[in-house]
Symmetry: C2
Subunit: 170 residues, 2 copies
Amino acid sequence: MMRKAWAAGVALVLGTVAVTAFAASDAPPPAPNGIVMPEGYKDWRVIALSHRTDNNTLRVILGNDVAIAAAREGRTNPWPDGTTFAKLVWKDRTDDNWEAATVPGRFVHAEFMIKDAKKYAATKGWGFARWLGMAQKPYGEDADFAQECVACHTPVATRDYVFTTPIQLP
Amino acid sequence: MMRKAWAAGVALVLGTVAVTAFAASDAPPPAPNGIVMPEGYKDWRVIALSHRTDNNTLRVILGNDVAIAAAREGRTNPWPDGTTFAKLVWKDRTDDNWEAATVPGRFVHAEFMIKDAKKYAATKGWGFARWLGMAQKPYGEDADFAQECVACHTPVATRDYVFTTPIQLP
């Protein structure tokens, strides 16, 4: 009986830890503009990838179903409402077994662009949000942080404010 | 009547062309070792990415459901039977709007590793295959081409012959 009660106690504690860990990793606080991290983005498909030598990062850009359909059908200027991109960024690391290969090192952040021409009219039709590091700390002091995103994306205003060009495959 | 018959003829020809084009882009000839291109790989999820400066290429490595589950659960040495990786490779291109960003240019090839310890015992438990360019031409003169793959992967024998380390995400 003692053994059973002990086992039940351990199961309870482990269960609580599991639930806490799940909640912590799955639902970080919203961005200062109220955007909630899109669910399930880790399972989205690839839109593109890039390597930046100005800040030594590797990036993969994923898209939700709306984004993938639009990319494959060439409906990208403008991207349709409902398009969501997740850009995942890592610091450069030299591969342990291939010295001319740069691979993902420390995780830097996950950032998102959500298209809704009406809802996000104040930020050029896109909702911007970013969560920093493995701790997923929301980026920005207040809701105005997104004007910084807009400023950086303005050089590609004629591409619906999107730098990314979708990959071409056979 | 003449016009209708002509239109029907054109439709028939166009239909044939469309079917041929679809077949050509969707089902390239098998690799010389008999491996058939895995279906639906463009919809697989991301395992990792890399940038190689020895041949100036960007790569994204996708995994089928078995590979993704194994990667997320840390069952990667050995990878379980049924694991399949698709590595998609493009030549470097400088982004038109961000000069310090390297992005995918010309598509080079899609290559695959399929784990089946018994079936592919002669090539270290992995079936290797590669299709070149947008034309998806099978790589290799005969079935022995895969020994070239094995030779290149032998430095990572202690990693189940896999160079790729799965990305870490929050």
